[in-house]
């Protein structure tokens, strides 16, 4: 699957929540766009990631 423009291989099927935990993302600081759709935080545990998914993991940074 593709995350933030990079291709990665999903070793085994996992939920979005598990993926974010494994990769040390702080859930309170990020927003997820999966295949062009915003994913609300209460859905993280119910979504299973697929190899064809395109995901953006975004956060706030300094800006003017």
């Amino acid at each position: 699957m593709q995350i933030n423009g990079k291709n990665i291989i999903l070793k085994n099927s996992k939920t979005l929540e598990d993926f974010l935990k494994e990769n040390n993302y702080i859930v309170g600081r990020i927003v997820i766009e999966l295949n062009g759709e915003i994913v609300s935080k209460d859905k993280y545990s119910t979504i299973n990631l697929k190899d064809t998914d395109v995901m953006e993991v975004l956060t706030f940074v300094g800006g003017g």
Binding site: N4, G5, N23, N24, Y25, I26, R29, I30, V31, E33, I38, S40, E56, V57, L58, T59, F60, V61, G62, G63, G64
Partner: protein, 255 residues
């Protein structure tokens, strides 16, 4: 009390601080020195290697104003605004739609389109724009909460290059006019506040100053001074003549 009111939200400070170009540790102190109650942010890809997030350095009472920087079309600006709102930091959004990569000038047409869509979705929409009165009217009609005309190209510190056109917008548009981009010195911030700007937004002028905290404070004082001068009403100007400030009678001419 003289408050800045943006779509029903009240602020005591008229100083909007941009948070770009600082190291994270300096942001908190800059916000405090500025007395800023609104701080802008940008949305970017998250990096798991970074230990700290900018939100850890912004006091909780500060209103966050995410921008849509990076957007080249109205559609992209709308996408960024929706994603930013999902982060749970409120409904404010500063619309920035920029196709021109050399001078970073905003695309007014796309900005109007994005404003219309986001205002209908309940956002507090603060569009950054090239100062054109017709566009300001269109933005107001599209549901903008403020108008944010540029003083000079982003990050240039060139000052009030568009002053006359900003003044036209201030005079003609009932919404708060917040001057954004290009202001390089406290004197310039004071000058446009004197002319009736509702607030100014400053980032680069502080981030590139030798002493960030002192410059943030200098801008705070200048913005307050300019506002007070505006409310007091500037004295009149005489051209090609003079008028003595001291009485001209009762002394030497009597001899």
């Amino acid at each position: 009390m003289d408050k800045l009111i943006i779509q029903g939200h009240e602020f005591n400070s008229r100083f909007i601080l941009g948070s770009g170009k600082y190291s994270l540790e300096l942001i908190k102190a800059a916000i405090e020195s500025a007395g800023a109650e609104i701080v802008t942010l940008a949305l970017r890809r998250a990096n798991t290697k970074t230990e700290y997030n900018i939100l850890d350095f912004i006091p909780k009472n500060v209103t966050l104003l995410p921008n849509t920087s990076g957007a080249r079309t109205a559609e992209e600006a709308v996408r960024i605004a929706r994603l930013s709102r999902e982060l749970g930091c409120g409904d404010f959004v500063k619309i920035e739609v920029i196709k021109d990569t050399k001078f970073l000038l905003p695309d007014n047409y796309e900005t109007i389109k994005a404003t219309e869509i986001l205002a209908k979705e309940g956002f507090v929409v603060m569009p950054y724009m090239y100062p054109d009165l017709n566009v300001a009217r269109d933005l107001a009609n599209a549901g903008a909460a403020t108008i944010m005309p540029l003083a000079a190209p982003i990050g240039s510190n060139l000052g009030l290059l568009t002053k006359h056109f900003i003044k036209i917008i201030i005079d003609e548009i009932k919404l708060p006019v917040i001057v954004d981009a290009g202001i390089g010195s406290p004197a310039q911030a004071c000058e446009i506040m004197q002319e009736g700007a509702a607030a100014v937004m400053i980032n680069t002028a502080i981030a590139t100053a030798k002493n960030i905290n002192e410059m943030a404070l200098a801008f705070k004082l200048a913005i307050e001074a300019g506002r007070k001068a505006y409310l007091a009403g500037l004295g009149r100007v005489l051209n090609f003549k003079a008028e003595a400030s001291s009485p001209m009678i009762d002394f030497l001419e009597d001899k």
